[in-house]
């Protein structure tokens, strides 16, 4: 409890530093999620349509998913150096596998008779994509983004090690000085952010699957 009081005092006394770190953390996470969604959702769709391509790409992403996040962040350092952009690239690499794999699985899970019915009704392939396939695959795609978002927020903490800034900086400095209140200044908001993102995505997921319950 003592620690908690010191933590709150620290945040109020250094509110500008805290807010800046929070801003960097959120910015890094948002941009990484946005870019990986822009790349990976189309990639997942292409994979689902082209079975020849999907084997290779899915294998690559499945292996990439297994590699520890710290290893991916650390290996970026000798390749790209320190700073915001290397951290951003590392986070995008980490977020790609869950989004691509889930988009692929979402499209693959659609009953082929539904597609057949749609084309029988005279829909062209673009209409089938936007009116049938994307809405049906959306819950699975969002679940992938949810996993990716939590992964990004967690790894953005690690980005402090390669100079990416964010709330991880407080944790790293707090550890360096063995200053527990300073550790908590980073740890508590990061934990809170991750839980918030999970709750938000769960709400969106419920929203898009509403038709299944009505």
């Amino acid at each position: 409890m003592e620690y908690l009081k010191d933590t709150v005092t620290y945040i109020f006394e250094n509110s500008d530093r805290f807010l800046e770190a929070l801003q960097v953390h959120l910015g890094l996470s948002f941009i990484a999620l946005l870019i990986s969604m822009l790349i990976c959702i189309p990639l997942g769709i292409v994979c689902a349509k082209k079975p020849k391509l999907s084997g290779l790409i899915m294998n690559v992403f499945n292996s990439l998913r297994v590699i520890p996040s710290l290893a991916i962040i650390v290996i970026i350092l000798p390749i790209m150096g320190m700073g915001f952009y290397p951290a951003l690239i590392a986070l995008i690499i980490l977020a790609c596998p869950p989004i691509t794999i889930n988009t692929f699985l979402g499209f693959r899970g659609i009953d082929s008779s539904i597609i057949e019915a749609a084309s029988g009704m005279g829909m062209d392939s673009k209409q089938i994509l936007t009116k049938i396939e994307i809405p049906l695959a959306l819950p699975v795609i969002i679940a992938g983004c949810r996993t990716a978002a939590v992964e990004i927020i967690a790894s953005a903490t690690l980005a402090a090690f390669i100079g990416g800034g964010g709330l991880g900086t407080f944790i790293v400095n707090g550890m360096g000085m063995y200053n527990i209140p300073l550790l908590l200044v980073g740890a508590l908001p990061v934990a809170f952010l991750a839980i918030c993102s999970e709750v938000c995505f769960a709400a969106v997921e419920r929203l898009v699957t509403r038709y299944q319950r009505d």
Partner: protein, 210 residues
């Protein structure tokens, strides 16, 4: 690079073995909790939502933050690392144990009862073999997650391959970074591959095709 490996192969090997010990120690302790809890939750379904949400919240907490939060209570070293790794893997393991037992066709259990099997035999000869592929799937995902989070545990002095990564970062030594990354990725990929093979084999066995 080659020089570094030949000079320090014993240190590298020791860190690798440390990592293995950390991973499999945590996994064994995690299973000790998850197997009974998962099995009991299939009997008390009303509790399962609550337990899984709590485990879900723990799972979501970023590992660096979790380690930092544990320092005031457990300090540094192996103890908080194993605690965190066990806590993380509970969601995956408990969920898969539950799903494994729930996915068994009730008719099979009834047939077992009809053949006069007692509670223990029913569990040992029927339920467990049928649930095992899904449980092992959970063990695989948990093992990979533990290997990954275990590297971060080097940050709180728990040892393992993460030491190479952090030393590489702080000393700006590309050798250490590359060797650490390769070793830890290989360990994760091989563990994943072996457990996946085992999982497929057990699935065939459960279906009676092997």
């Amino acid at each position: 690079m080659v020089n570094y490996i030949t000079n320090y192969y014993d240190t590298i090997l020791a860190l690798f073995l440390d990592h293995l010990r950390l991973t499999f120690g945590a996994l064994a302790i995690a299973l000790l909790f998850a197997l009974p809890v998962g099995y009991l939750l299939t009997r008390w379904k009303s509790l399962s939502v609550l337990v899984l949400s709590i485990l879900g919240i723990i799972y979501v907490i970023p590992s660096m933050a979790f380690f930092a939060l544990l320092i005031p209570f457990l300090g540094l070293g192996m103890k908080p690392a194993i605690f965190a790794l066990v806590a993380y893997s509970q969601l995956i393991l408990v969920r898969n144990v539950m799903v494994g037992f729930q996915s068994i066709d009730q008719a099979i259990i009834e047939a077992g009862k009809g053949m006069g099997l007692n509670w223990f035999h029913l569990f040992w000869k029927i339920e467990l073999p049928l649930a095992l592929p899904i449980i092992l799937g959970g063990v695989r995902i948990a093992a990979v997650a533990i290997i990954g989070i275990g590297t971060i545990a080097a940050w709180i002095n728990a040892g393992g391959l993460g030491v190479l990564l952090f030393e590489g970062l702080y000393q700006n030594s590309t050798h250490k970074i590359i060797i650490g990354t390769i070793l830890v990725s290989t360990l994760a990929l091989i563990t994943n591959y072996i457990l996946l093979r085992l999982e497929n084999r057990l699935a065939l066995k459960a279906k009676g095709q092997l």
